[in-house]
């Protein structure tokens, strides 16, 4: 192992050794091609057994962050320029199969189930990345998933593409659970689902977490994400703008106004002013402070 270059990295090295089952993203810089920088120094921690949410608008870098953790950046021609991702003390170096072997499995945005394959084959595919080749363990994993999602057992022989959106989301999550992950990465699980189904998915996420799986949840549905998670980070143009306990964030004016659809009513600044100008003043003078919040900047969606 090369000697740590900075104090921050030295600190990270000692921490990863002591925190089992923790995901630690440290000062991550990611760019696509040679020019488009998607993340500028993002740091994030998911302690074992917790749910951590990442919020942000389109293009904020949420999916890029997940790709860096799951090791699929290369498929999008992205590269990690600086920073590290550790899980359970193991450095994840951009190889998807190794991330899965380490116990980190991602449910992709838009579900991405194998539509022409049967439900059962989709689940079998989810088991391919696990170290085990035993049929008994495959069956056991499948029974666990069927217990969690009875609807999948009913439709096991059906082509996956013919199920409803909510069922497909359940299949995508069940497929990921086949590898018995210790950390589940969820990319927009509520995308395109009816409100009732969003509720159902939220319950399922809570159940999965209750069984001991840590969860990193990326969402645009901030109400759902803040309700589910213990802590949350808000990404904006590739940087963490806000970070804190979810309850505090849900109460913060910025988040309420921008993500929870409430009108902003304070005297500071002009809410209707041109976005760029408002942002410029806010960036130089953070206007909101709250318990547990760090680096509060003016949010400009």
């Amino acid at each position: 192992m090369s000697p740590p270059e900075t104090e921050a990295e030295a600190e990270a090295e000692t921490q990863v050794e002591t925190e089992a089952g923790t995901l630690r993203v440290c000062d991550l810089h990611v760019s696509y091609g040679r020019s488009v920088q998607a993340l500028h120094g993002v740091s994030l921690t998911v302690p074992q057994g917790r749910i951590v949410a990442v919020l942000g608008s389109n293009g904020a870098g949420k999916s890029t962050l997940l790709r860096a953790v799951s090791g699929t950046l290369a498929l999008h021609r992205g590269t990690v320029e600086r920073g590290t991702v550790h899980f359970d003390g193991v450095r994840l170096s951009g190889d998807a199969a190794r991330s899965v072997a380490a116990g980190v499995v991602q449910v992709p945005e838009g579900r991405r189930i194998f539509g022409a394959l049967s439900v059962e084959d989709n689940l079998r595919a989810g088991f391919l990345g696990s170290a085990s080749r035993s049929r008994a363990e495959l069956r056991a994993a499948r029974e666990r998933v069927f217990a969690q999602f009875p609807v999948l057992a009913e439709r096991r022989r059906q082509a996956a593409g013919l199920m409803s959106g909510g069922e497909q989301q359940m299949l995508a999550m069940g497929r990921a659970l086949m590898a018995a992950p210790r950390l589940l990465l969820l990319d927009e699980p509520s995308l395109g689902l009816a409100p009732l189904m969003v509720q159902r998915i939220a319950e399922i996420i809570r159940e999965i977490n209750a069984q001991g799986t840590s969860i990193l949840l990326v969402e645009q549905n901030a109400a759902m994400a803040l309700e589910l998670s213990d802590r949350a980070s808000v990404l904006d143009v590739g940087q963490v703008r806000l970070e804190g306990a979810s309850a505090d964030l849900a109460a913060a004016d910025e988040v309420r106004r921008l993500y929870l659809g409430e009108t902003y009513e304070t005297g500071c600044g002009a809410p209707d002013a041109d976005g760029d100008a408002a942002y410029a003043t806010a960036a130089s003078a953070p206007s909101v402070t709250g318990p547990g919040l760090t680096e509060l900047g003016r949010w400009n969606g």
């Binding site: 499995v105 595919a125 989810g126 391919l128 497929r175 990921a176």
Partner: protein
Amino acid sequence: MIKLTETVLNGLALGSVYALIALGFVVIFKASGVMNFAHGSLLLFGGYVTARLHDAIGFIPAVLVGAALAAALAGLVQLLATRGLRGAEIHTLTILTIGVDVLLSTELNRQVGADYLTMGDPWGADVTRLGSITVADARIASIAVAIIVIGAFFAAFRWSRWGLSMRSAAADPEAAALMGIRLDRVRLIAWCVAGALAALAAVFLAAFPAPGLDRTTSQIALSAFPAAILGGMDSAVGALIGSLVIGLTAAMAAGYQNELSVLGAGFSDVAPYLVMVLVLLVRPTGLFGSKELTRV
């Protein structure tokens, strides 16, 4: 009636050989999205190895070595494509296979020269008579071997871990990668399987009643191309059905060429392409090409 039966048997034999070629074509296309234009020279290479070795080590070992070397060569092409040209576009890789084809076929043509190389197969020019029907033993063997090999292929495709990895990776590479499936490995195995199948096909293409392996044998692989397209290019079942259709068409057109002489000599060479065009006019995605199976 006798002639019809013989023609159909010939067609099935031809179709079974085409199926070995077309399946390889489709497997490569499914796994890596590349149209492998070097398939004909891979086939010639496998056949050439078998032809050179059978005197020394016997027919069956020579076929196995030929298949293994063709598989290795195909794997090498894939490694060159992924390691050497990492991140290159699919189209670039397709063009690359044309370059590989030119290199390989030039060298093989030099080696083979104007000769017909024998395969040393045990069937020779023997024929079997069933009543008044006469069939070459080599054709019966090609049907039997193709049924066994293709059956094994489909079983592996359906039930094995590799088959599932392959189908998942073809359906959605990124989602497959997220399941921990190693895309590079799936592609490598696909190319190797295709190379081995092509080498096997070469043996039967060169067997009786063909005079032997010569440098035009690789062009026969071109006839398997309409078979793959006809079947839908990304469907293994389609490749099989397409091959049988093309094989029967070619055999019929050759068997009844006197009756078809209105259409000109050599119609049997054109017939497969004609069938392909007609099918594509009705079904642009081929017989079994992927339909969209999604619900939003």
